[in-house]
């Protein structure tokens, strides 16, 4: 159940990230008294960019090619480990001797 929730969380993160950007851009435009682009604009941008070919400079090394992939992958993994329930549940789990899940890594001290 919790694994499913984590999977949904990661998927939502990927799917909603461009929307957040779109809303921010729209809000900025409104504050500056412009109309601004549609909030769905970043989706079409991403779609367009993904269809373009990669340009790789001749002097670039494997770091150039791998860095974006690694950054994206680590962001997803971090998103998967962000805790879902509130932190006091984690403390109780420790005191009752139940094992903790990875998603509770970021919480406060669960000490003696």
């Amino acid at each position: 159940m919790i694994w499913a929730m984590n999977a949904v969380q990661v998927l939502l993160l990927i799917l909603l990230a461009p929307l957040v950007r779109g809303v921010i851009a729209r809000l900025k435009a409104r504050i500056q008294n412009r109309r601004g682009a549609s909030v769905w604009r970043p989706y079409s941008d991403v779609f367009k960019l993904f269809r373009k070919e990669d340009l790789v400079p001749a002097s670039a090394s494997f770091v150039f090619r791998l860095a974006p992939i690694v950054l994206f992958a680590t962001t997803l993994v971090v998103a998967a480990f962000v805790p879902l329930q509130n932190s006091f549940a984690g403390c109780d789990a420790v005191s009752e001797g139940r094992p903790l899940r990875g998603s509770q890594l970021n919480q406060g001290p669960t000490g003696p």
Partner: protein
Amino acid sequence: MTQVAFSLFLVATLSVPVVTLISRRWTKARALPAVLLMASLATGIAVAGAGFWDGQRFTVEVSQVASFSFALSVDRLSAFFLLLICSVSLPVILYSSSYIPRHYSGARRDWLWVLLPLFLMSMVLVVTASTAFAFLFGWELMTLFSAGLIVIDGDSEERRHNIFIYLLMMHAGAAAVIGAFLLFLPHAGNFAEMRASATLMTPALRTAVFLLAFVGFGTKAGIVPLHLWLPRAHPIAPSPVSALMSGIMLKTAIYGLVRFAFDFLGGGPSWWGYLALLAGGVSGLLGVLYAISEHDLKRLLAYHSVENIGIIYLGLGAALVFMANHAAVWAALALTAALLHCLNHAIFKSLLFLGAGAISDATHTLDLEELGGLQKRMRLTGAVFLIACCSIVGLPLFNGFVSEWLTFRSFLAGSELTDLSAAIVLPLAAGVLALIGGLAAACFAKVYGVAFLGRPRSHEAESANEVSWPMQAGMLLLAVACVAIGIFPGMVLGSLGALTEELIPGAALPQAAALLSAVLPWIALFVLVLVAGMAAFKRAKKLTATWACGLPGLDERMQYTSIAFSKPLRKVFSQVYKADRTLNVIPADQPYFPASISYRSVRTTSFERLLYRPGVDAIVAAAYRLRRLQTGNIQIYLLYIFAALIALLMFMRWV
């Protein structure tokens, strides 16, 4: 059995110098010393592993030297440091087996193979000694052999001055260590007696022991302001020797401090911890800030040793504060983090120094401004150097992360303490550690980016070739260790927990540590699957020239330089550097079209000038005044002897 293997290890290592000198003229046996030394180090790893993982204890009574007892004994703490020494020096020796013949010949090469095993042996002696005499014997030899190894590269005036400062500070530190041992008199024989007598000491005497040990071992460890020798001595040694000095020798000082503060004294008032936290925080911050402004690779790495020793001291300080506040569990976590960081730093720092050696082997320079584009020319060296950079800045899935995260964890737990000052200071120290980590990341982005990426900045860098296979293999072994501990920290954390339980009564490693070792392999698996999945997703690719903003003729001088990269940070922390800048434009009346332009920026805040110079001046002035005693007149000297005799007789009368 283990005892026999340990004796075998000692004898085999000590036989390497003899074998080197005997087989000197025998050209077919060139590799013999290296092979013998590696075999004996492998034995050492097995012995230390039995001591560390299985908790075996064993003792070797070497001899009775006069009235001093000379014994070696390995408990878990010794076994851990023995493991650190043997397992890190094995790849370094493998690397040296190719590096030394390429750079040294004749007598200098023979001396290296004579001194290297003796240097290793002296460090082994320090961490396994169980009597004060054996410890101090090893401690002094360690200084002398390392100085001998530095001299092999030449003895110009400047180098001699640096070695003089190194020896002077080491002897001053050793005097403090000897003082700490003498305070245990009349129980200063073996460690067990000292441990027992420490409980009967008055608090003032305990404080004196701690302070002497803190200063004495701090000099060896290179905490600010006792770090003066470190950026001078490390860069001028041959690269494998720098790796051993920075990776291993500094850790013997941590061993000494842990032995005194935790094993003998069993912790103390909480201001001991605050002192260690202060020293650690200042060393960490100044170490990394001085490193950022360097562009000589080995000096930069030497300053990073100061920084990492600072991180270790932060962990030790937190452990002392927790012990004073009776929070044994968190003290165990902080001490475990500090000890693990010792191992981690030994691995990645020696890897970085070996990488620097490979760079100088291929390009004959260590100036970052003349490197660049090495990743394409030295693929394996570049890859392992990148792993070492990721480890030292504490990125997850590399070993530096594990120890730094555990240190963070213990600091944050400090907010739960009832003592208000500890509850404020410890979380603040977490902030200091975070700042150190961020600055280190900036510094190594600079090092890797400038040296390995982009285009070569000099002809030497352009014609660089990959180094020989034993050098690559040595570096690869260390890189594998970085990743292995980063993903499976459980293999050392469990036994380190057992070790801290022996040192801190009533402690048990908190769940945070077990949790980390349980979750890291999964994170690694997820990242690996995701990266492999996305990398397999083939897309249309076109090889082009780098875009130069529309200008024709892309030039390597258009790249970021090391100095330029660190400029924003140097500007933010300008109060730390107080840079003295000189800009020379020739001719002076044409500022926009100069024939030549030179820029120089020197850091003016130096501890040498502010802290050491007044003391040195005072000592020299006192020496000049004392010179009046030496008149050269024999009658005066006879008078001195007579006066001394009278004084002694009167003293005996009173006593």
